[in-house]
């Protein structure tokens, strides 16, 4: 019915902000609830991928600062590999290619996972983001005065102890702002997951547009939710920054 009206007056887009309270044809609730569920998947995917990215990225970033040529080369290759392929292509490789290359039983098991899109998105986004985290961690460690590592060794700390207790705690404070940007990027990149069927926020807005034809309401709502998410993350990081601020140090 709505559709017919629009055809009669093509330039008149029929705004209907009440659409969010209408039942969605997926039968799981209203359109509004559909979008909120999408926001939930966006957040969960981003958080899981972030944990993966931090773990791998820290390891690779530390490797780039170690006095070992092989660790350096290996870490540099990792960074270049994941930085120079578009995220969408990486997701396709994880989704369509990797299961084929694994032993047959594994590949089948992966393809039959009920949440294959989610797992693929977490792994794909996590690995891609790890390269960027690694570069930040490396820069953070290299920004510290060389004397700090020397003082740690002079006290008899082993190299792992020096990283654990002296270098990394300082480096992470230095790179907190750029890491925040990377996390915000990661949140935005979860939307690429819709290409492999991840039902995150943009995907939900898109399906709402397809079912209800209220395209601009759907996208406006998604836009506002992304902006809100940004604000929440930025203020959370501000609070964290205050908590970990070192007394007596200006700036960092």
């Amino acid at each position: 019915m709505e559709d017919r009206k629009r055809r009669g007056h093509p330039m008149k887009y029929n705004w209907n902000w009440g659409v969010f309270w209408e039942a969605s044809p997926e039968g799981t609730g209203t359109y509004g609830e559909l979008l909120i569920a999408g926001l939930g998947w966006t957040i969960v995917t981003a958080l899981c991928a972030w944990i993966l990215a931090l773990a791998i990225g820290t390891t690779v970033g530390v490797m780039r600062t170690l006095p070992s040529k092989w660790a350096n080369i290996l870490a540099a290759c990792w960074v270049e590999l994941f930085r120079n392929i578009p995220i969408l292509v990486q997701l396709f490789v994880w989704f369509y290619v990797v299961p084929e290359l694994l032993p047959k039983a594994w590949g089948t098991a992966i393809k039959q996972m009920p949440n294959a899109a989610f797992v693929t998105a977490v792994v794909g986004l996590g690995f891609a983001t790890s390269a960027r985290v690694a570069e930040q961690v490396r820069a953070g460690i290299q920004s510290l005065p060389a004397g700090q590592a020397m003082a740690a060794s002079a006290l008899g700390l082993t190299l792992p102890q020096a990283y654990r207790h002296v270098l990394l705690p300082r480096a992470f404070r230095v790179v907190l702002p750029p890491l925040t940007s990377e996390f915000l990027n990661l949140i935005k990149n979860t939307s690429v997951g819709l290409t492999i069927g991840l039902l995150e926020l943009t995907a939900r807005a898109r399906s709402m547009q397809e079912y209800s034809a209220q395209v601009f309401e759907a996208f406006t709502a998604a836009t506002l939710l992304y902006l809100l998410l940004n604000v929440v993350v930025v203020s959370a990081v501000r609070a964290l920054e205050r908590r970990v601020a070192i007394p007596g140090q200006v700036g960092t």
């Binding site: 005065p145 004397g147 700090q148 020397m150 003082a151 740690a152 060794s153 002079a154 006290l155 008899g156 700390l157 082993t158 102890q161 207790h165 002296v166 705690p169 300082r170 404070r173 070192i246 007394p247 007596g248 140090q249």
Partner: protein, 244 residues
């Protein structure tokens, strides 16, 4: 047997020779001052003693442990030799007491109460009993350097290395640090000190080493060094420094 024995040590960065055939030794309880113009290799020499700077030829033996031996456990050796740096190098993200406790707990395996007791005792000894819970950024340079000395002493070192401990300090803070070092020397600590503070050398040094262009040019008892230096380069250096 000397506590620190440096035998014919040479080191080069590419074509640049930083150390040339350096040989000397420090006995137990002895205080040796190393001086020389900047770029003479004195900082590099003192850092080779605890393996912070590798060297290519020769050997260094600290309390019977050979540094040229690849099997030597360097962290273990360093834990027994205290070092104080020009720029203090306290860990700014740790409180003063945590700066003193970190290596005691992680390297020596002391428990927290024992480490803290030791930390508080040493802070009192360097005249900073009230500062335990502050952070390095909240202290003056002289106070930071005294904390750094306390941090090194917390490991119960067999010897202490000082790499220009007062040259990053404002002039009015130099004496508070030197006083701590003089007291340490009088208690019989084995010390190797890179410094231009000739007053300190006159007061407590047993021997003075003069370096230039990576070489040990003069290695003499204090009285001989200040009384009748034979080497013209050392003479020129001394006259320049003592003018002020």
């Amino acid at each position: 047997m000397p506590m620190i024995e440096i035998k014919d040590v040479s080191k080069a960065y590419g074509a640049f020779q930083v150390l040339r055939h350096c040989t000397t030794s420090v006995d137990k309880g002895e205080v040796v001052v190393v001086c020389g113009p900047s770029g003479s290799g004195k900082s590099t020499l003192i850092k080779t003693v605890n393996g912070l700077e590798p060297f290519q030829t020769g050997n260094i033996i600290v309390d019977g442990v050979s540094l040229a031996d690849k099997a030597t456990d360097l962290p273990k050796l360093r834990a027994r030799v205290g070092m104080v740096f020009q720029n203090f190098e306290l860990f700014p993200h740790l409180s003063i007491v945590d700066n003193l406790c970190l290596a005691q707990q992680k390297v020596l395996g002391r428990d927290r109460p024992a480490a803290e007791a030791k930390a508080h005792a040493l802070l009192a000894r360097v005249g900073l009993p009230e500062q335990a819970d502050k952070f390095p950024g909240q202290l003056s340079g002289g106070q930071q350097q005294r904390v750094a000395i306390a941090r090194a002493l917390a490991m119960d070192p067999i010897a202490m290395l000082f790499d220009e401990p007062t040259s990053a300090l404002d002039p009015e803070m130099v004496s508070e640090v030197l006083d701590v070092m003089v007291a340490l020397a009088k208690e019989g600590m084995t010390m190797m000190v890179v410094t231009h503070e000739m007053g300190f050398a006159r007061k407590v040094a047993d021997r003075v080493i003069f370096m230039d262009k990576g070489e040990i040019v003069e290695d003499a008892k204090k009285a001989d060094f200040f009384g009748n230096t034979r080497n013209p380069r050392a003479q020129a250096f001394l006259s320049k420094i003592l003018q002020h």
